[in-house]
Amino acid sequence: MAHQIKELIRALFQAAWADDEVSPAEVEALMRVLRQLGVPFDEIICLLDRNLVERPRGLPVPLDQVFGERHSRMQALQTLMTVCFAEGVLQPQEVGYIEGLVTRVGVTSDELEMLRRNATGRP
């Protein structure tokens, strides 16, 4: 479980850096999500300090391998889209990043639309 959350956190920062910049809205979204995941305050600050000054290195997190069940993969994808949609709109690089995830996880267009609505809070 801790391993899955750690990998999800790694993916969150990859999502935040998808468009080569991390905006204040994305920082706020990251902090909200990390709190929801149960990350303690001091570790949140350290994670932001380590991952926002410079783009984290490493290959994209293979969500389909980290999360065995489809339900947990969809939850992880929802969390990542919350950060990507933090500014309300997606940048082209973020669209590409999400498309990559969707292909890996195997999401239908209806499911993707539901994820988008949940992430933006808009119909």
């Binding site: 850096w17 991390v22 990350v39 303690p40 305050f41 001091d42 600050i45 350290c46 300090d49 783009r55």
Partner: protein, 258 residues
């Protein structure tokens, strides 16, 4: 400048757009939290109020809109004009945006612009170009991104700090409602207390990897990997500055997510 007395203004060319500006655009000559001097294509009407869209074009500061009022306007040569406007925030969001802008600009102003430009051209070699005269923004990184300033919202109370000699660092204690949190700043080589007792409510922490304070530490003790942490209160007031290695959790519990 029209800003409040003692307030720092920054000589920067920021693009400004507005339906109320001649040609719908202008460029700032200088800007502060409460006011700005603007160069436009024609003089502005005194007393007129307008919504300005500020376009910073930088990673650490998002664009935002702010209402402002024209206080003075002087024609210049070739029909252009210089005008002084005062920001007139209408909401807490307006005030927050202006305060954040002032904090970002204040922290960045302590970095050597030449160092920043050189660092940016090193990061983004294909897009590098010769250093320009100030004011100038670093070129946008293409593939290898680096934030030269990170803004972390906190909204906590600074309970205090203490030097831990055996661990060679400073522990800073925060309180969030009933919970107490601590952060450890290892190898702290510079700490400046701006009378934080008078302003204990911390709105944000600003982190930079290049600043005057970092250069001063490097000059005296050498080494690399230093970070400059600045805790700020409302109205971008600095309350505690620390130069140290990267911050670490201070609790006795083992880290789960780091």
């Amino acid at each position: 400048m029209l800003g409040e007395r003692g307030e720092e203004s920054h000589t920067l060319g920021i693009r400004v757009r507005s339906r109320s500006l001649p040609g719908y655009r202008g460029v700032t000559i200088c800007i502060s939290r409460t006011a700005l001097e603007l160069e436009t294509e024609a003089p502005l009407d005194l007393g007129s109020e307008m919504l300005l869209d500020l376009e910073f074009g930088r990673q650490d500061l998002a664009d935002f809109s702010a209402p402002a009022k024209v206080i003075w306007s002087d024609p210049q040569k070739r029909g252009s004009a210089r005008s002084g406007l005062r920001f007139i925030p209408q909401s807490s969001e307006d005030s927050c945006n202006l305060a954040r802008m002032a904090t970002v600009l204040k922290v960045r102003s302590e970095s050597d612009l030449q160092d920043l430009l050189e660092e940016s051209s090193r990061i983004d070699i294909p897009q590098s170009r010769p250093p320009q005269k100030a004011p100038a923004a670093p070129p946008t990184p293409a593939t290898d991104s680096r934030n030269l300033g990170v803004y972390i919202p906190l909204r906590t109370v600074l309970e205090g700090y203490r030097w831990l000699r055996q661990l060679d660092g400073v522990e800073v204690i925060f309180r969030e409602e009933t919970k107490v949190h601590t952060l450890f700043f290892p190898n702290c080589r510079r700490l400046t207390d701006h009378f934080c007792g008078a302003h204990p409510y911390v709105t944000a922490m600003f982190v930079t990897v290049t600043s005057e304070a970092i250069r001063s530490v490097q000059d005296s003790v050498g080494g690399c990997g230093w970070k400059h942490y600045r805790l700020v209160a409302e109205r971008h007031l600095s309350i505690l500055d620390i130069v140290s290695r990267g911050v670490e959790p201070s609790s006795d519990e083992p880290c789960v997510f780091l």
